[in-house]
């Protein structure tokens, strides 16, 4: 089982960590990035910093990362600016991103590193409403990649002064979230092949839920979604799950819902969702 939840403090990473770190103070974030990367360096991972803010924080904080030039020279540290990494304000293709990080992770291992550890400051992407949908899809694809034990771990940083909708969007698609508030109303991540949901799936989050489920890379096959950590579903949430199931069916896929509360299964039958789509309900995995 992949570790998930709210993260009040940074803790040692496991090999499938995908953290969303929301910060107010750039200096405090610099310290978090330094600690996160120092841990990776000690573990023999190649470090990849995306965004100038990351490198700036790391460079000025001293310690084993202070010699940026030396680390870069021996390939232990790579730096990308966000414009280079995510296209200079133009098209942003989540699938190309995945291909890039997949190749980078393989290369790190081929070069003798134990894996790839990424710190990415993506506030500018999240702030751009025109690119946010692609960013979400990318975070989702990245989570699938990381969750499968690919050898990449990542800490995605966002400024707290982003607008509330943007912050909720990005925190929702991470298994581990550090944010000043109680975290987003619900979260979605991958645990191996299982799409895992937590929190409240309700009418108010229905649009976001639909957008995220639509960008779910698990299409055209049997999708298993685990609802064991979901504490509430209303009619609007149920309807989105049913719509998703119907869309999966239309693409020759199917949906299994695992660990749904009994009231959800009763609601499903009472409102006739079982007549508009074919969903298998199963007990939570032991």
């Amino acid at each position: 089982m992949r570790i998930h939840g709210l993260l009040p403090e940074l803790r040692p990473a496991t090999r499938t960590d995908h953290v969303c770190w929301v910060y107010d103070d750039p200096a405090a974030f610099g310290e978090i990035a330094r600690r996160y990367l120092t841990e990776g360096l000690a573990a023999g991972e190649r470090l990849l910093c995306v965004g100038d803010a990351v490198l700036e924080g790391v460079r000025t904080s001293g310690g084993p990362l202070a010699d940026v030039g030396g680390l870069q020279a021996r390939g232990a540290l790579q730096v990308l600016d966000v414009r280079a990494a995510y296209g200079a304000g133009g098209a942003f293709y989540p699938d190309q991103q995945l291909a890039f990080y997949d190749a980078a992770t393989r290369k790190a291992r081929a070069d003798g590193f134990t894996g790839l550890r990424v710190v990415a400051e993506l506030s500018d992407l999240a702030a751009d409403p025109g690119r946010r949908a692609d960013l979400l899809r990318w975070e989702h694809l990245a989570d699938d990649f990381i969750g499968h034990g690919s050898g990449m771990v990542a800490l995605c940083a966002y400024r707290h002064d982003l607008d509330g909708e943007a912050l909720t969007d990005v925190t929702t698609v991470h298994p581990l979230v550090h944010s000043g508030d109680g975290g987003p109303p619900f979260r979605i991540w991958f645990d191996g092949d299982v799409l895992t949901l937590a929190g409240a799936l309700d009418t108010f989050g229905a649009q976001r839920l639909r957008a995220i489920l639509d960008s779910c890379p698990a299409a055209g096959r049997r999708v298993v979604a685990d609802l064991s950590a979901v504490d509430f579903v209303d009619v609007g949430g149920c309807r989105e799950l049913a719509r998703w199931a119907a869309r999966l069916e239309a693409r020759s896929g199917s949906l299994e819902l695992r660990g749904a509360a009994r009231v959800v299964r009763r609601m499903w039958a009472l409102l006739g969702f079982d007549q508009v789509c074919d969903v298998t309900f199963a007990e939570a995995a032991a």
């Binding site: 109303p185 409240a200 309700d202 009418t203 108010f204 509430f232 579903v233 209303d234 009619v235 309807r239 049913a242 509360a261 009994r262 009231v263 009763r266 609601m267 009472l270 409102l271 006739g272 969702f273 007549q275 508009v276």
Partner: protein, 313 residues
Amino acid sequence: MTAAGHTGPGFEHESFLHRGDGEFLHGVLGSLREGLARGETLVVAEPAPRLALLRDALPGADAAAVTWLDMSECGANPGRILAVWRAALDDAVAAGRTLRGVGEPAFVGRRDAELAECDVHERLLNTAFTGGPTWRLLCPYDRARLPAAVCRRALAAHPISSTTAERGRSPGWSGDDVEPLAGTLPAPPGAVLRGTFGAGDLTAVRRTVSSWARALGLARDRVEALELAAAELAANSVRHGGGTGGVALWVDGDAAVVEFTDAGRMADPMAGRRRPAPGQEGGCGLYLVHQLCDLVAVRSSADGTTVRVTTWR
């Protein structure tokens, strides 16, 4: 029972006031035999002991031709019964047959609060089926064991009434211009927790109700049902009730009560009593609340709307 009284086209809604099981059997079997002889579709919704009485009194082949429903289950909350008859009528009409129902919502042993909702249900049957396909529904009331006021209300809510001796236009029939959801609910007897909410408070309302229900020691299924009910009803108040609403929580004997009020008026008195079409958008919340909760009382007038949800502890 005599054959007097009108049997024109349309919905024939008849109260059958009887004393005890002997008169009950006599009257209901008479109606069932008539229906069998006419080749009608027969559906009987009675509490289990009376289902057994009727079944045992009919020859096996006749009993097998009747659909038997346990009213204490399918009609535990009287707000669910209308959808049962709607489905039975739709099925009969689709099969090209005439429906004859026997339904005893106000069976002996019901609590006062349930009997009040049985009365609302009986009146809503008139609203729902008058002017529709021809069918008849016989509603037994045991006047030997029910409060006299319940039987008086039954006479007022049914255009036709019968006893074992006579049948005809109900002497107390109040006409069909009565608004079934008008009227008020009895005030809570003791301490009440109250709050008001707007669009930004819906999660807090839901959580408050679920932690209150949990603290009362309600079983998990019922806490989950109440939490869902609270979410849907509070959202209805915000959407249709003027943007804000009030919630009140109290305990009255074996009843745990959650009540939502708002300034809106329910345009459709049948809201929540029709089964939504599969996947239907909107109009699902109140139906779900009726199906999941023990007792749901709705009152709506120009003064506003109240939905009172009772869970038996």
